[in-house]
């Protein structure tokens, strides 16, 4: 397929439809509104359902219901709206249902502003909702990756029957880059997928026997039953940690004197700075977590080469992923941090200055 120039918000919506998403419920919010607009325009054309809910709380509970019915379903929002969805996400995780949630982050806390930020790392990776649960968090750094992650998110959600969040930001949502879409899933593929969901979803059983119903629930009033359920969830999460941790290595070598760690939009700016410094003959590597949960602890530990004197973390927040990096580094070398907040995005020149000061 030929490349098209598209905003990240539109690209992820198109890719979701191609992945078989036929149900989408959301409430508008800047800077992700092009996503909901695209869904409003396209869902009727593919025989799907678009519904603008009366609130984010309502939208996530529609997602809960549709996921329980065994359908590929998605919602999206930006930071304050994701907070409203947090309760629903916890229920979906508790009931073990597949769902895809896109967060196009903006500045916070509270209503904050509408510029790009990475302040929702804690919320996305450490909970957000209540209770002992985990959600898979995919963090794109380009429009192409944002689109590719839609199909990946649906597949992961199905595979583990777990909510998957794509954690982007206002810059990725608003910017345009060339994107090449995968072939759309055929109806036959989607039907096959639907049949697999019949093992657990609330759809009627093919044999018509009403006794064979499935229960979709996150309430387990008996402590012993809940204990077993939560332990089973944690076994599932351990498998995800083992098999689904993803990261990118950029310019990693034994010559590295500094190791940078950055995710999403921030990582692209750090890459530019590293490229500039490389031209001066200095060696800096970078690890970019592609999954923020599960987090690539081992990859970071391994990337600390013999000459690395410092690990430098750059984020568009006051230091959230920083905690995970410190766990990974485990005191081996000092960990430094620099970030910008309030929707202000650092420039390649600023990062370059910070890195050059290390030599």
């Amino acid at each position: 397929m030929a490349k098209v120039l598209m905003k990240g918000n539109e690209a992820v919506a198109e890719a979701a439809i191609r992945s078989g998403c036929r149900l989408y419920f959301a409430y508008p919010i800047t800077p992700q509104s092009e996503l909901i607009e695209y869904m409003a325009k396209m869902m009727p054309k593919v025989g799907g359902t678009f519904l603008q809910a009366e609130s984010e709380v309502s939208a996530i509970n529609m997602v809960y219901g549709a996921a329980g019915a065994g359908k590929r379903v998605m919602t999206s929002s930006s930071s304050p709206g994701i907070s409203l969805k947090a309760e629903g996400i916890s229920y979906i995780a508790g009931a073990e249902l597949p769902a895809v949630i896109v967060n196009v982050q903006r500045g916070g806390p509270g209503l904050g502003d509408i510029q790009p930020a990475q302040g929702d790392y804690f919320q996305a990776t450490k909970g957000g909702g209540h209770g002992d649960y985990r959600q898979i968090v995919l963090a794109p750094s380009s429009v192409q990756e944002f689109a590719d992650m839609a199909s990946e998110a649906f597949d992961l959600a199905d595979k583990y029957r777990n909510p998957v969040m794509i954690l982007a930001d206002g810059m990725l949502g608003q910017m345009m880059e060339p994107v090449e879409f995968k072939e759309a899933r055929s109806q036959a593929e989607l039907d096959e997928l639907g049949k697999q969901h019949n093992d657990w979803c609330i759809c009627p059983n093919e044999d018509g026997d009403k006794k064979h119903h499935h229960e979709i629930n996150s309430l387990e009033i008996d402590p012993a039953v809940l204990e077993a359920h939560v332990n089973a969830l944690y076994k599932k999460y351990a498998v995800i940690e083992k098999d689904e941790t993803r990261w990118e290595e950029f310019n990693i070598s034994d010559d590295n004197e500094i190791l940078c760690v950055a995710w999403g939009t921030a990582s692209r700016i750090v890459k530019s700075a590293i490229n500039e410094i490389k031209a001066e003959g200095k060696s800096i590597g970078m690890i970019r977590p592609i999954t923020c949960w599960p987090f690539p602890y081992e990859a970071i530990a391994k990337a600390i080469g013999p000459k690395v004197k410092k690990v430098y973390v750059f984020e568009l927040n006051t230091g959230q992923m920083l905690d995970d990096v410190k766990i990974a580094v485990n005191g081996k070398v000092p960990v430094d941090f620099w970030g910008k907040v309030g929707g202000i995005v650092f420039t390649p020149a600023e990062i370059q200055e910070k890195l050059e000061a290390c030599f």
Binding site: M175, P178, I269, K271, S272, T347
Partner: protein, 179 residues
Amino acid sequence: MKCEMICAGFGGQGVLTIGKFIAKAGMAEGKNVSWLPSYGPEMRGGTANVSAVVSDAPIASPIVSYPDVLVALNQPSLDKFGPMVRKGGVVIMDTNMCPHGLKRDDVDFIAAPMSDIALEIGSMKVLNMLAIGMIIGKTNVIKYETMEEDLNAFLKAKDPDLLEKNLIAIKRGIELGKA
């Protein structure tokens, strides 16, 4: 080859569209491109700007610190982004809208009464096409033919008169850029 540009002006002058056409044309010519708008509570008459990058190599940051090319369609834009232009870079400015100019002797100025020229061609709507022509004339970052092809597909059936004016504006811009 890597060309990083910032286009800035009042909302409604078509500055975001300058970046979009350049990015589309770059993509059509097989280059890596990115287009990053300023966004926010902006409106007609407010300020707007876009960062566009066209590059042979993959683009790391879509944020431009030191543009190779600045298109400034009003004085506030020139004041804000003028000092950031890379040494030896290009500043394209509309002298009708930038009465105070920019005090720098280490950049290449392409200054013209762009608003007057657009009106002379027949519409303020072609101001951004004039700017695109100036970019092409000076930097060859994209080809005129790619622009013509894209505009044909976009406007030939819808508004042949505006198409004609746009093409005249690009050609006029190329002359100005080369001068």
